[in-house]
């Protein structure tokens, strides 16, 4: 703020206040409550946990409340193998699908970036358009294809590649297909943005100096596109770890991803403290990649001034 008039300052405060209050009430406070309930214990009551914080009891009530908090739910998370396996499965699925997304997304983004200038906005729009249609619909569309008497088996049998219908649905393969399909635009867009900004003369210089094309690609293009690749990878990895809809509709029932486990604890078992403890640990797990992502986001939006 370089010597702004006083009136500007006041209107500035008003501008921050409204979104700030909203976010504190509906984004920050809920996390405090989740943390509190993760330290509570299940109870056969409404709401189904104890202790319930009661403001009217004053300071004594608060001390009493604090004494009743326990780490029971967290102890359960770290001792019962179900939860540990769930976390590992989520991390594994997220890591492998992010890798596939980079491998699939890179040639796609590179292709768009090398297309004639006039074509590029059209190609980008074609890339984004499916993202505007419902996530649920896009996952559902794959059930049509992957189910036992679905189109994929139909095509494979007609081409005599297989004789009996294969099982695609309710498997990890289906989860990977669904995730790669749903998250592809999130990977391609940041990659394309990085590739498109690249200075053409660098490639010409490399070519003039006799560098072969593949080597130029590896030594010049890939390093310059790394920020885009990192943004895309984080933008995919973080939500995939907590993904619920895709594994629930396309995956099997052997090992659940952590989002499904949270959902089951909450809706089926009505164990709110354990569900909250899962949320707290998941958040702790994702905090570092999320901070990285925020740094990148801030730099790309505010560094360009």
């Amino acid at each position: 703020m370089r010597g702004e008039p006083q009136g500007r300052k006041w209107s500035g405060r008003a501008v921050v206040l409204l979104p700030c209050v909203w976010l504190v009430v509906f984004f920050l406070t809920p996390f405090v409550i989740v943390l509190k309930i993760s330290l509570s214990q299940t109870a056969l009551a409404q709401p189904p946990y104890s202790p319930v914080f009661d403001l009217s009891a004053g300071w004594a009530g608060f001390l009493d409340f604090a004494r009743q908090l326990s780490l029971e739910s967290f102890r359960l998370l770290f001792t019962d193998l179900i939860y540990l396996l769930s976390y590992l499965k989520s991390l594994q699925v997220a890591a492998i699908s992010t890798l596939i997304l980079v491998l699939v997304g890179y040639p796609f983004a590179y292709g768009i970036a090398r297309a004639p200038r006039g074509w590029q906005p059209l190609l980008v729009m074609a890339l984004v358009l499916p993202f505007w249609t419902s996530f649920l619909i896009r996952v559902y569309a794959w059930i049509n294809i992957l189910q036992r008497d679905g189109l994929l088996n139909d095509v494979l049998m007609r081409l005599h590649i297989v004789d009996v219908p294969l099982i695609w649905l309710s498997s990890d393969t289906a989860i990977y297909i669904g995730i790669v399909y749903s998250y592809l635009p999130f990977m391609v867009l940041p990659l394309y943005a990085a590739l498109e900004k690249m200075d053409e003369s660098l490639l010409e210089a490399a070519a003039d100096l006799g560098c072969p094309r593949w080597k130029t690609f590896w030594l010049v293009v890939v390093p310059l596109s790394l920020p885009g690749a990192a943004a895309g990878a984080l933008l995919c990895f973080i939500p995939i770890v907590g993904e619920f809809v895709i594994p629930d509709l396309l995956g099997g029932s052997e090992t659940l991803m952590i989002g499904q486990t949270l959902w089951t604890e909450f809706f089926a078992n009505r164990d709110w403290p354990v569900a909250s403890a899962i949320a707290v640990t998941l958040l702790a797990l994702l905090l570092v990649p999320m901070l990285f992502y925020e740094r990148l986001q801030q730099r790309s939006l505010e560094g360009g001034r």
Binding site: F26, I112, L123, L136, F266, L286
Partner: protein, 271 residues
């Protein structure tokens, strides 16, 4: 970037686009299938659309979803635009780091966490769950998307018009309303539409924050889909795709018109 796409580039883009569009096209085509089975083509028909008209549960859910989406998108657009203005125009203010952290976090926050935490908030304060709680939850989820869109527009724009108005004695609020707002209007419109479709689309957060009598369309579709493929659901999805496609074309026309106008203005300024 050196122009001139190689064969490899063309093939990878073609395969990528085919991968993105094939499943959706199949879904649309099979919504017109007269046969109930996916593998059997029974000829073109509108049976499933007719059946949809009699399915009051789906129609009711769609109506609730549209109302939630319109309300939450409007609220999210107001809040998100204010947040974007604050982030771009106020420079460094106290609590900026926390503020920007809160603004960007919902972008990548897993939905199960946001949904669970909002539900527990509503329970803790004894709020009756239903239409309003879903709308509040969706506003919180979508405002960050509006912020990002409006922010990138605010960064890439010429401040000299604003400064000229202020130098001529125009008060800040009036400058914002008469100069800034019209210039960022296309971004605000795009933000509203994105917020609207995200709200229309959301299953997880709505499932957590819903209450009796407030079944949104995705919740309804999800409960049907879990029991297997139904042609009526193909028809609902096709209608939603058609609405979204039409909306996107309109939005791109608006922004394109805006871009062309700005370009003309910039040229006029040079002459």
């Amino acid at each position: 970037m050196r122009r001139g796409a190689s064969l490899f580039n063309i093939v990878s883009v073609a395969i990528g686009l085919a991968f993105l569009y094939l499943p959706i096209s199949i879904l649309v085509i099979y919504s017109f299938n007269a046969s109930r089975l996916v593998t059997v083509w029974g000829g073109w028909s509108l049976t499933w659309y007719r059946e949809l008209l009699n399915d009051t549960a789906i129609l009711q859910a769609a109506w609730i979803s549209l109302r939630v989406a319109a309300l939450s998108a409007t609220a999210a657009t107001i809040l998100g635009t204010l947040a974007a203005v604050a982030l771009v125009r106020l420079g460094s203010f106290r609590g900026r780091l926390l503020f920007s952290g809160m603004v960007y976090a919902p972008l990548v926050m897993p939905e199960v966490i946001t949904g669970l935490s909002l539900l527990l908030l509503f329970v803790a304060f004894n709020v009756d769950r239903g239409f309003w709680t879903i709308a509040i939850a969706h506003t919180t989820l979508t405002m960050c998307f509006v912020t990002v869109i409006v922010q990138s527009r605010l960064i890439g724009f010429d401040r000299s018009l604003e400064e000229a108005a202020m130098d001529l004695g125009c008060p800040p609020l009036k400058t914002f309303l008469t100069i800034t707002l019209p210039l960022i209007a296309p971004a605000i419109a795009a933000g509203w539409m994105l917020a609207f479709t995200l709200s229309l689309d959301d299953l997880v957060i709505a499932s957590f924050t819903t209450g009796p009598g407030a079944t949104t369309l995705p919740i309804r579709i999800y409960s049907e889909v879990r029991l297997g493929v139904k042609p009526e659901i193909n028809a609902v999805c096709t209608i939603m795709i058609a609405i979204v496609a039409a909306g996107t074309v309109v939005a791109s026309l608006i922004t394109k018109g805006g871009a062309a106008r700005r370009q003309r203005e910039a040229l006029g300024a040079q002459v």
